[in-house]
Amino acid sequence: MKFWFETIVHSYSQIFFSQNKILGLLIAFVTFFSPKLGGVGLLCVVLINAVAYVAIVNRETIRQGTYGFNAVLLGIALRYNFEPSTQFWVLLVIAVCILLISTVWISGFFSKKNLPFLVFPFLVTYWLVAHSVSNFSLIHFDESRIYEINEQLKLKDTFFYKMAHSMDNLHLPEVLQVYFKTLTGIFFQSSILGGILISIGVLIHSRISFLLTWVGFISAVFFFKLLGADIEILRSQLAGSNFIFMAIAIGAFFIMPSKHSFLTVFLLSPVLMMLLFFLAKMLSVFQLKAYTLSFCVLVTVFLYFIHQGWLYKFLSLITIQYYSPEKSVYKQSIYNKRYQFDQYAKLSLPFWGVWKVSQGYNGGITHLEDWRNALDFVIVDEDQKTYRNEGMHTNDFYCYNKPVLAPLDGYVYAIENMVEDNQIADVNMNANWGNTLVINHLNGLFSQVSHIKRDSFKVKVGDYVTQGTTLATCGNSGRSPEPHIHFQVQMTSEIGAKTMAYPFAYFLEYGKKGMALKLNEVPKEGALISNVETTPLLKDSFYLIPGKKIVFYNEMTPKKLIEWEVFTDAWNRTYILCKATKSVAYFVNDGTMFYCTDFEGNRHSLLFSFYLTTYRILLGYYKEVEIEDFIPVNYFSHPIFLTVQDFFAPFILFTKARYHSKVKEIDNTYAPEKITIESTVHAQFLGLKTGVIKHELELSQGRISSISLLKNNKKTTYICVS
């Protein structure tokens, strides 16, 4: 029942690129201003979804209204033009089937190019039906449309008519009147009240979309007036809706809402206008109505254009569709920074302990030209000296003969082991790289370590090595005046191939102020760095694999269990599902960091607390390291602040939600049995704190043992039982 309700409502709201139920209901209500049109519209929606339910496997796409929204338009358009009769109903059923097939076909065709299918299926189906009907003598045009005045007189006293036109006599400015009528015109109606209701629905759905309906409409009016076109045209034949749909699609739905997207909407308006006139004239030759074709064509072409060019730098495409421009802004503004390196392989440093970068990228000594993206590492003491005693012998150097580790899983591709170590200060210019090892990390990624000690290799060519495996030890072979490791990432397999800039996923940098965790950075020359060593309990506790069930209960109500389960989806994203609250928290555990990537669902659920607590957790214990991040603001800010922010979201974000996490207590460092992690989220408005949420997560016996929510001096604890 709920499924069908949602399917139907979404079918309506999808017309405005939304899945908002209020908007859907309001649109449905407005279509019923003319009950005959609304009725057929609803019938088509039910019909197509019923057929789809039987014919199509993925019920989720049905629920989203993917098939329904074209049907609304088709049903209304057909009924608007034709008289109901038995033959008409037969035709309608056939039309709905054609619509479903064309929707599937067009969406499949376009999705290869990563493009949306918009309302093409409606147009194609409508043209097909409308053109063939002239040969069906038993189907008649609806005369009430032709004899409009008669119809009006006939309906004048009916309830719906009265209501629909109750506000028509208000003395609104012309622009407003045209705007509202344009909105109802989409459903072949003409009503100020309808327009107001729809615009309220859009406003409830999204402040940004609401702004954009105006931007699209005003741009249209502006260019119509500028070029001397009649703005009354906007009301007829769905012409004006083209501008509104284009504005939402380009301004917020397919492209991240931003000042650039708004500007693009404005600049595309004259193009759309010309396209509108052109297509109307072209199709009139075939006696076809253009309706919303011009917006579909323009949006498709423009999106294709962005895919190819460099415009994506300004107009970033939306990758995860939340059906809410605000969410897109709030989430993606953070995600762009947070996950820009998620596609990179997670390299670790090729050594244990603290080493110094003696020569960085573009080092100036030997890291030049094609070999500029390389790093040299040495060990230094407190006085920054690389050796003890006089430093006359390789053995005096701290890094000499120290293990060199695999930075990432891969196959040992090549080993060069023919070069003797140099005397200190001597260099071997003939065998530049000295003893070298190349690992093939697959997918076109290779890494090379050079200046290795002869005969120190612990692996052989063809071995599969995992990250952190000891490969060999540091030596002083090749072009190396003193013992050090040379490390570079390359795209080809040859020893000494062209280098490629590539970040290390995680490392600790030791400065005067203590240590700092670095994410996805290339260490700078002179930096003292080490790998992050993970802590067993942290690692075990966050080892959440699909199928794992986690059960909690509130300390106060031990009988009421909260059950979660870990799943993975088709894109290999892991998530925790709380069935009772229908909440989902997506997460990633890469072995060094556990981080939640997304949350959808109930904000009062325990899963939301978990999402906030584990937004970013380092799986190694370092007293001084505190993790910081930003959380999308839509979860936190005060509703009033957020509404204000919504209007400005494309241009400026003045609300923030800062996240901190750190280990509060640990019983021992190397093999801890109990760890308490504290996380804090501060909501900020214009830099002022507007709210704080604190959580404590307790780990013991290799798993999460409890989550506590600290709010307003109240501590609510949930115990994990399995």
């Binding site: 060990i379 293990p403 995992t466």
Partner: protein, 452 residues
């Protein structure tokens, strides 16, 4: 030009030997300052004799040692061996650097707690732990290293009344190729005693076996011995893994690393023959790494080295009380410190330098302490310049054991001064006075008065 100091003429016996172009001349480097603080000033301010500790040297030595291990192995933890030097200030320097505490008596245990070391970061070693001591250690979740079966039974019995698990390890002794074998601490590896003890522990519900420990000797001149010890501990750990499916958290290699002091009877100087920290680290880490543990099951290596971390950071400053000529013609110099303060002179030939400039001439002499006891000999034979009364000397490498094994015998114990990172001096232990000793004495009434 300053006036040259007058030195008495003396006759030196010519020793035959291989000819060398440098002749028999001996050069001295007088030690006039420590960490930039003049020796003279320290003695003026704090008296003679006086122990000096350098914070800078401690931190540097510790960091060097840690680096030697950490760049070879991911999980390394040092535990400061309290018995080597349990001055609170010294302990706390190590704790600040990240060291845990390794104690061998309830006195040291309480000292560690008092210093603020969390209970679970104290390793309780030693052959003597009373029931009450054990109870305290269990309650504080300290690591109890069981030394013998009687201790194990005592602990098992004790645990009946405690609603907690005890974190324990066993001490293992073994043949590491170094003789005599130290078989007095813990359970023997070769005869199966250790395995027996492990099984006894594993079958106890309330005893949680978390690690293995060994203390294979002291002043170990062979790094290879540690390699053998590490292998034997790894072997036990993997047997435990196989039989009981239990992954041990750590293996503790104990202490025993050499400092650069020269042992009595050693032909070569200590610094020339001892293995370096890197040698020890290489021997231990490569054995554990190559043993075949899974990457995520590598045990933490715990080290309790004391001597090698602190010896270099301690000096003893003293003055010449008198010089005399013995009946056989040998020269003798009497100093104001003896074996009462320099306990380690029983087994080391300590390096002793003059604290002021001399000419290059030197003479073989014997160094006596101030005690009225025949045993009070600091060096039986040392070649030093002709020291005069009130001249100062500096004894090197006295950081380990002297400040814990010193005796209050005849004389009171002197001040200990710490030179901090900025070169400022701090008294970290006051000198004892008559009152110190008298405070604890009780005189029965009938013995209070007398007349002679």
């Amino acid at each position: 030009m300053t006036k040259q100091t007058y030195e008495r003429p003396f006759i030196q016996k010519l020793n035959t030997g291989t000819m060398n172009k440098f002749g028999t001349r001996t050069e001295y480097t007088p030690v006039t300052q420590i960490d930039g603080v003049p020796v003279k000033k320290i003695i003026e301010e704090y008296g003679s004799p006086c122990f000096v500790i350098s914070e800078k040297t401690i931190r540097k030595t510790y960091k060097d040692a840690l680096r030697a291990f950490k760049t070879r192995y991911p999980k390394v933890q040092f535990a400061w061996s309290y018995k080597t030097n349990y001055l609170n200030s010294v302990c706390n320097i190590f704790h600040q650097e990240g060291s845990w505490a390794e104690v061998v008596s309830i006195f040291e245990y309480e000292k560690a707690l008092n210093n603020g070391v969390p209970g679970n970061k104290i390793i309780f070693n030693g052959p003597e732990k009373s029931r009450a001591d054990l109870q305290k250690a269990v309650e504080n979740e300290s690591l109890i290293h069981i030394d013998h079966f009687d201790e194990l039974y005592e602990l098992t019995d004790l645990m009946k009344n405690i609603d907690k698990k005890a974190r324990v390890a066993i001490r293992v002794n073994m043949d590491t190729g170094v003789y005599p074998i130290w078989d007095r601490f813990g359970f023997n590896y070769e005869n199966g005693q250790a395995w027996n003890a492990i099984n006894k522990i594993m079958s106890q519900e309330k005893l949680d076996l978390v690690g293995l420990h060994c203390h294979i000797g002291t002043y170990m001149l062979s790094a290879n011995a540690y390699s053998i010890a590490a292998w034997k501990l790894c072997d036990l750990a993997s047997h435990i893994r196989n039989k009981w499916s239990k992954t041990l958290q750590y293996i503790d290699l104990g202490g025993g690393f050499c400092s650069a002091n020269t042992l009595k009877g050693s032909y070569l100087q200590g610094a020339d023959i001892i293995p370096t920290m890197d040698d020890y680290a290489e021997a231990i880490t490569s054995t554990v790494l190559n043993f075949g543990f899974k990457a995520n099951e590598l045990p933490t290596i715990i080290l309790e080295t004391g001597r090698a971390l602190i010896d270099d950071a301690g000096w003893l400053l003293g003055s010449v009380v008198a010089t005399k000529r013995l009946s056989d013609g040998r020269r003798a110099t009497i100093l104001d410190f003896g074996v009462n303060l320099l306990f380690t002179s029983f087994w080391y030939n300590h390096k002793i330098s003059p604290a002021q400039e001399f000419s290059f001439h030197s003479e073989e002499m014997v160094l006596y302490g101030p005690l009225c006891m025949n045993i009070d000999v600091i060096r039986e034979n040392i070649s030093l310049p002709l020291l005069n009364k009130n001249d100062h000397v500096v004894v090197h490498r006295v950081g380990a054991y002297n400040m814990t094994q010193w005796m209050q015998f005849i004389h009171m114990r002197p001040k200990i001064v710490l030179i901090d990172m900025e070169g400022k001096t701090h008294v970290v232990r006051e000198h004892e006075t008559f009152e110190t000793m008298n405070r604890y004495e009780k005189n029965p009434a009938h013995l209070k008065e007398f007349s002679i």
